[in-house]
Amino acid sequence: MAVYSLKTAKEPPLGERGAVAWIRHNLLSSSFNILFTILSIYILYKILPPLAHWLFLDADFVGDKKSDCGGDGACWIFVFEKLKMFIYGFYPQAELWRANLTIALGGATVLIAALDRSPKALKIITILLLPIVSVVLLSGGYFGLAHVETNAWGGLLLTLVIATVGIVLSFPIGVLFALGRQSKLPIIKTLSVFYIELIRGVPLITVLFMASVVLPLFFPEGIDFDKLIRALIGITLFQAAYVAENVRGGLQAIPKGQYEAADAMGLTYWKSMRLVILPQAIKVAIPNLVGSFISLFKDTSLVMIIGLFDLLSMVKLTANDRDWLGMDTEGFVFVAIVYWIFNFTMSRYSKRLERKLDTNNRD
């Protein structure tokens, strides 16, 4: 038998430390990996310099007309000049403060939702109120605000309104359909399944056409909903079916024991759903839910086919301006960057939320 003295910890050998180790393990670990590294460097070498030239080095930033753009690079002057159109569409100049206020309210809501300290009730109330307040504020006609036809709404503002309304309002409806699909009552279950499968079986464009062209045929004469409102209803109902399927996936991941424990406690159905089952199910469903919200955000551009001018169609429209012909590329790159910022933010936020709600590995 032997007794061993305690050993002090030593640093790892030089090749296993810091950047050297990282490069060895990640870039040069096998001959295939080495080949791939070389190939990647070559591709980056081919792509990055011309891209940098077009985006920045050869691009024009100063001026106010097309002739100020001389170089081979991008003509960002076009984007700067038309920025107002891109953001607000045809929203009347005098009422722009309402549009700005709406965007600020949206920002504030996101901030409240993202702060850990804000009370849960406040989060829920602000999120639910946001779409309603936005639409009322933008449309006016009440509280002494001048009425602004929805035809005049456009650009990023319209994209955000459609996405926010679609995401926020589809959520509770989708949750109800998900619960309906799990219901023990055959009628509710059948109706939910029928609805979800019907909607998921058709493209969004069909739903938009139905909402804008076919639906009015069924209205009694003289009654006409606003085109945007019809589109919002269509998009919300469409998205609700996807939310329902995502939440159902979450519900199926909840062990039977959780339902039984809630039942045995004496909680009513709605309380056990609200306090025990849904918080867990939605947590599981977050990655898929956010995925479908990101899809929706991008799909809002489809409203162009029913004559609404969202960000993308606004850019297309302005690129047809006689003074700015041939500026499509700059416009589309700008749109891509804007979409990317919003969607990447959503994606990051969902990651953060997942980590925050993870109660398995907490200290």
Binding site: E260, A261, A262, A264, M265, G266, L267, L357, T359, N360
Partner: protein, 261 residues
């Protein structure tokens, strides 16, 4: 048998002639499979009944019928003279009198320990938060786990989780506690801490029905031990007779199998 005497002397609540749970001619089927056959069982106030039997014998199904986690097709079950049936008000009364502890604890993983405990008091009995928390802390101390109040279930060991589950059940101040194999999912070194809590409850005079394989527990605290096999009650007796002089061959075989090692 000394333990038993302590129970009898310490509890004025105990009155075996007052029925808390009555099962009369209960039959249940899963499809064509006859899972409970003519079950008759009365449990008196403060009585401690242990249900034993091989797996698949219907013992869990039987106690889950008492708080209607399972439905039965024939016969009558009454809890404190209220019939267990589809009536919503009956069910609410029954579930507020009956608490259950599960094999897999079934704590709510998204809620902290203290929130697990205050859920029923706040949302079923509308107690104010302060009062619910005080009650919760009282029972957490009772099961020696108060210092874990702000942790989440998955951060605790199995034995700790099951003690939390018992504390959660106690927060409803139930008259009746049902235990559905409370130690079967635990590592051997944790069984003791859970059984200790159960024994102390038994001493307080709670009415308890325990499905368990812990024969030591049965010997120590049970008033009656029931042996079930193939969906029926085969034998019931006081623990003394049950373990020392089993009558039926099936019980003899069962005891041989579980006590052999």
């Amino acid at each position: 048998m000394q333990e038993k005497k302590i129970i009898e002397s310490s509890s004025q609540l105990r009155d075996l002639s007052e029925p808390m749970i009555e099962l009369n001619g209960v039959n249940k089927w899963y499809g064509d499979f006859h899972v409970l056959k003519d079950i008759n069982l009365n449990v008196g106030k403060g009585e401690i009944v242990v249900v034993a039997g091989p797996s698949g014998s219907g013992k869990s199904t039987m106690i889950r019928c008492i708080n209607r986690l399972e439905e039965y097709q024939e016969g009558v079950i009454k809890v404190k003279n209220i019939e267990v049936n589809a009536d919503v008000k009956n069910l609410r009364d029954i579930r507020s009198n009956v608490a259950m502890v599960f094999q897999h604890f079934n704590l709510f993983p998204h809620l902290s320990i203290i929130d697990n405990l205050t859920l029923a008091p706040m949302w079923v009995y509308n107690k104010p938060k302060k009062e619910a928390r005080d009650t919760a802390m009282h029972y957490l101390e009772r099961v020696n786990i108060a210092e874990q109040a702000d942790k989440f279930p998955n951060q605790l060991s199995g034995g700790q989780q099951q003690r939390v589950a018992i504390a959660r059940a106690l927060c409803k101040s139930p008259d009746i506690m049902l235990f559905d194999e409370p130690t079967s999912a635990l590592d051997p070194e944790m069984i003791g801490e859970v059984l200790d809590v159960m024994i102390s409850l038994a001493k307080e005079g709670k009415t308890m029905v325990c499905v368990t394989h812990e024969m030591g527990f049965a010997r120590k605290v049970a008033d009656r031990v029931i042996f079930m096999d193939e969906g029926q009650i085969v034998e019931e007796n006081d623990p003394e007779t049950f373990f020392n002089n089993p009558e039926s061959d099936r019980l003899k075989l069962f005891l041989e199998q579980i006590l052999a090692h």
